[in-house]
Point group: C2
Chain length 244, copies 2
DNA sequence: CTATTTTATTGACATTTATCAATTAGTTTT
DNA sequence: AAAACTAATTGATAAATGTCAATAAAATAG
């Protein structure tokens, strides 16, 4: 389709050296790396490594030095804040063609959360030193990263508000709607997440999550089997989410 | 002291046209605007207005368009997320010489929280369009803003973890330590905050906050009068904060 | 295909936290 | 200084949520 359009990157070009960090550089959505020239891309990704992870494997670990950022080529990952006493909070699910660092880049260069594979994953690791180097050279790139950072910031704010201001049913509704509309984008959606993980996304114990889910099912808002949930009355779920 | 060193900004120079946005451009701490040349400063602050607010006044309101950012010259302000049903959460206290936008800059250009004056405040408003313009011109400036954004991001993360993973005593301990060590930097510290506001910082009702505070006092961890709190056993408070 | 382990579910109960109402203390107005 | 208002405190109670233990269902290993 776009063969030869840009030697540096297009997902449709099989030989593309840097494909793991692009979805559709020439084919649609803008992307942070779309700000870079072929030469700059080379500077950034020259020595990158593409790596496969199995479900459950840790991709980056909280409290380790932030030496690389990661581009997720395909698969799903979870961003987990590991609290003391084994209390985990899943902050976000990451989809294909996303960039993540583990927080703290440019600030303290430590990872502030853990990222673990949910499905099989292909991703690549890029030196942060190369990234920082590029930041000083390409202004549009810096601005895109700033936008990315601010977006993450807003997502975090919204998570904070949802988790802090809402009772359990509202939080469960949030989780279900997030999975359907932002992550899986089908209905019903099959998930590979355990009830414990769903609970960790909702800031509650698995027992509480299960009970809340059951109430939704009893009220006919959803239907759910072991690994799939169908949302039957999205408007009512939205209402529950809004009312907290 | 530093007269004439830089025509564009030094807090010690009374005539300085842009003083409201600097603490110590030539006199110490680096600062985001320290990245700018005199000319660029002019571009940014040419038409800025300095404004005074009384305690309690709203400086920027959640859900309004983000047309200006604000530099706080002196005084204290609170960053509030206004939830539905009047549930407020104070995310942060802002001190002198800080910049804030209300979230959402470059992303959706809406304010995602309200900022209100706690004390008397002098601050100035700067066009975001001018800011964006400068972003494309001065790379170091973009990078500093990126750093600023990432720092805010980490602060938000830490607030999220504290509010989500801890029981009330841990959250109250967090609030007290934050006020002593980050905001007032004295012990005992006098505060102008109502018990309702302290509760809003801790994600609980004022009654719960008061009860928790009383337990600390009964255990000899703190001493408190109407408008001041003295922390007597910081280590034990830290312990309570850590154990959640 | 059975045994073993892990995950999901349910129930009883304890703990945490919010709500509501009443009272007290402090501030401001007159 | 009394009156009127607002903020702080206390107590009783209800609601929300977590904990623990028991069981059931599913996945995995042998």
């Amino acid at each position: 389709m776009s063969e030869g359009l840009d030697v540096a990157g297009c997902a449709n070009c099989v030989e593309c050296k840097y494909d793991c960090c692009f979805s559709n550089r020439n084919c649609g959505n803008p992307h942070i790396f779309g700000m870079l020239s072929a030469e700059e891309l080379h500077l950034l990704m020259d020595n990158k490594r593409q790596i496969h992870f199995r479900p459950g494997e840790t991709i980056m670990k909280q409290n380790t030095p932030l030496t690389h950022l990661v581009c997720l080529k395909n698969g799903l990952a979870k961003v987990v804040s590991e609290g003391p006493k084994g209390k985990n909070l899943i902050l976000q699910i990451i989809k294909s063609n996303s960039i993540f660092t583990g927080g703290g880049s440019i600030v303290d260069d430590f990872r502030h959360f853990t990222v673990a594979a949910i499905t099989d994953i292909d991703c690549c690791f890029i030196d942060t030193s190369r990234l920082y180097n590029l930041l000083t050279k390409n202004n549009n790139f810096s601005i895109e990263l700033l936008k990315h950072s601010n977006t993450q910031h807003l997502n975090m704010l919204s998570a904070l508000i949802n988790l802090t201001n809402k009772y359990m049913p509202g939080r469960v509704a949030d989780t279900l709607l997030y999975l359907k509309n932002n992550i899986f984008e089908t209905n019903p959606f099959n998930f590979i997440l355990s009830k414990q993980e769903l609970a960790d996304m909702s800031g509650m114990t698995k027992e509480s999550f299960i009970r809340s889910l059951k109430e939704f099912e009893d009220s006919g808002l959803i239907r759910h089997t072991r690994n799939s949930i169908e949302i039957l009355k999205e408007n009512e779920l939205l209402e529950i989410s809004r009312n907290g």
